[in-house]
Symmetry: C2
Subunit: 341 residues, 2 copies
């Protein structure tokens, strides 16, 4: 029989002690960590970057098909992805959770296992947080702090006309993973049939265990690339590119045949009679980086197989367009994920 | 008829634009604020302090008697209180909310009015956050960032034997305010009778609109006082003093007749046949500062009418005790608020 320890048996402070017992400090800038009113971070000579995200059960994740360990990992990743999207290096996180009494200590352990695994992988320190009850469901709030050399941070609002539009990795996978898991959940609910995830490891992984593009930021640093603007793709390429264009007051053209798609994603899209391009444009949660560079950086970008040039920035009057394989031009529209319904 | 705008009519990004339209930047260290993946804070030559809190409807607040404007104000105050408790000055906050569709834009406006009012009063900048749906109720997560001159921060773990134990303001008021509002809510539910809050403005205010003790930190700076340890009183004096002693590995003695009580609090406690001392020891949410100073600072502390010396730090073997008015000695026990039930 599975062990179940009631959270109430530990009490709030016992729970905090328990959850942070293996917490390690990795950054010398972490002067004071969990256990006081606040954490102390030393950032002499660097600029501090800070971002926060909230994940709500039933809105952002479904525990019927989301292992808690993956959820802990993903909670960290989606937040530090925002720090990388500033061309900065995440250094610390704070994690708050609200939990109903349906969760056992063992369940929370699993969640924190994922959190700590992500902290180790991305070399960030968990330095604080809050732990409380919820009336219903699981709510996670993460704040990430990062550092960047003075004035090396990259905003959304500074793309220039004629800049190249680039994306890392491939797009649409997380959306297809979600579509698959929702389908299998429905089948399981209706018929009791076990989920069929064979040959679908890639898209399921894209949804449940995304990675933040630390390697891309490191590539920029190693090759002296300073993007002119950057954003992480959480709502879908269209939606996030429209944000970037709006904040930079520019237009854009992207090319359907340049959009990076994974083979498994494409193949699964076809089995669902979905257009892989639509999935790439509108599917959220890929956590890839969308950025612009000056044309002079062209060679440096194409030298990296993991980066794709998908279009270029235009005058604002030119609008925001996609040119299809057939040569037709359509207006780009936001159909990204929208967590406010 | 009251206006009601559905949040869905704005969309997530429209909602964020709407909620941050009057957001001002007050600190020169705020290099980049709301509207990008992350905020940028410049902290050259200062140390960064960061803390986070989560407030959950039905656990931390009851909207039946909590005006949303007060709730917004309090959400900021409880979080920056943690920054002051480090002897630091809060400079920025990030605010995330999860809301169900029962909330209208007008309701959120009220909440944010309180948030911005607190930002103005305490001179902090709102620099980021997240806005999402909840399945049920209102969840608020706030992260505060502050700065402190190098190594001037004050921890919980550094109290020394023979130090004086001090508290700011008075204690137990917020607990009595809560008791009153819960009683009036029950009466209203059962009989429909309107709440009777006459002559109870002080204790109701202590609960619904607490203040953070910025003035105490400023007094320390102006009079060259560096407390040896400090914590804010959110769980009750007993519970928070036990934390401080545990983390400092010391014991303590406090005196019942030294505990600062407000007249209205005392009087209301008597009408309820509650012991005002018990309210002061175990009532949470007063957000006063509990700190220790070396004996040499005695004159500087008593010169401030808003500060009380309530006892002193002892060797750890001496235990943690309270001496009553009658001269009896009891062990101090934590009966603070516990949000994990």
């Amino acid at each position: 029989m599975e062990e179940r320890t009631e959270i109430s048996s530990l009490g709030e402070f016992g729970l905090i002690d328990h959850l942070t017992r293996n917490n390690e400090t990795r950054n010398s800038s972490t002067l004071l960590s969990v256990g006081d009113d606040a954490a102390i971070i030393d950032h002499f000579g660097r600029q501090t970057v800070i971002s926060t995200d909230m994940l709500v059960e039933g809105i952002h994740f479904d525990l019927q098909y989301t292992p808690l360990k993956h959820l802990g990992y993903k909670s960290v990743v989606v937040n530090i992805s925002d720090i990388y999207a500033m061309n900065a290096t995440p250094t610390q996180i704070l994690l708050s959770i609200a939990i109903s009494n349906k969760f056992s200590v063992e369940a929370l352990n699993e969640f924190y296992e994922g959190v700590y695994y992500a902290c180790e992988k991305y070399q960030v320190d968990l330095v604080g947080g809050d732990t409380t009850s919820s009336q219903k469901g699981f709510v996670i709030s993460i704040t990430a702090v990062g550092e960047v050399a003075p004035n090396s941070y990259v905003k959304r609002s500074t793309a220039n006309v004629n800049d190249l539009i680039c994306v890392s990795g491939d797009l649409g996978g997380a959306f297809l993973g979600l579509t698959l898991l929702e389908r299998e959940k429905k089948i399981f609910t209706e018929t009791g049939a076990q989920p069929d995830l064979e040959n679908r490891a890639y898209i399921v992984g894209r949804l449940l265990k995304p990675e933040a593009r630390k390697d891309v930021i490191e590539y920029f640093a190693a090759h002296d690339i300073l993007p002119t603007s950057m954003i992480d793709i959480s709502d879908g390429l269209s939606s996030d590119l429209l944000h970037l264009c709006k904040q930079s007051d520019v237009g854009c053209v992207i090319y359907e045949d340049k959009l990076p798609l994974n083979e498994e994603s494409k193949e699964f899209a076809y089995t669902l009679e979905l257009d892989p391009t639509a999935c790439a444009l509108s599917g959220g949660e890929d956590y890839e980086l969308l950025f612009t560079v000056a044309q002079g950086d062209y060679e440096k970008i194409i030298a990296n197989n993991g980066l794709s040039i998908v279009g270029y920035i235009t005058e604002p009057e030119a609008g925001k367009h996609i040119i299809t394989r057939g040569g037709n031009e359509y207006q780009l529209v936001a159909q990204g994920w929208n967590h406010i319904k």
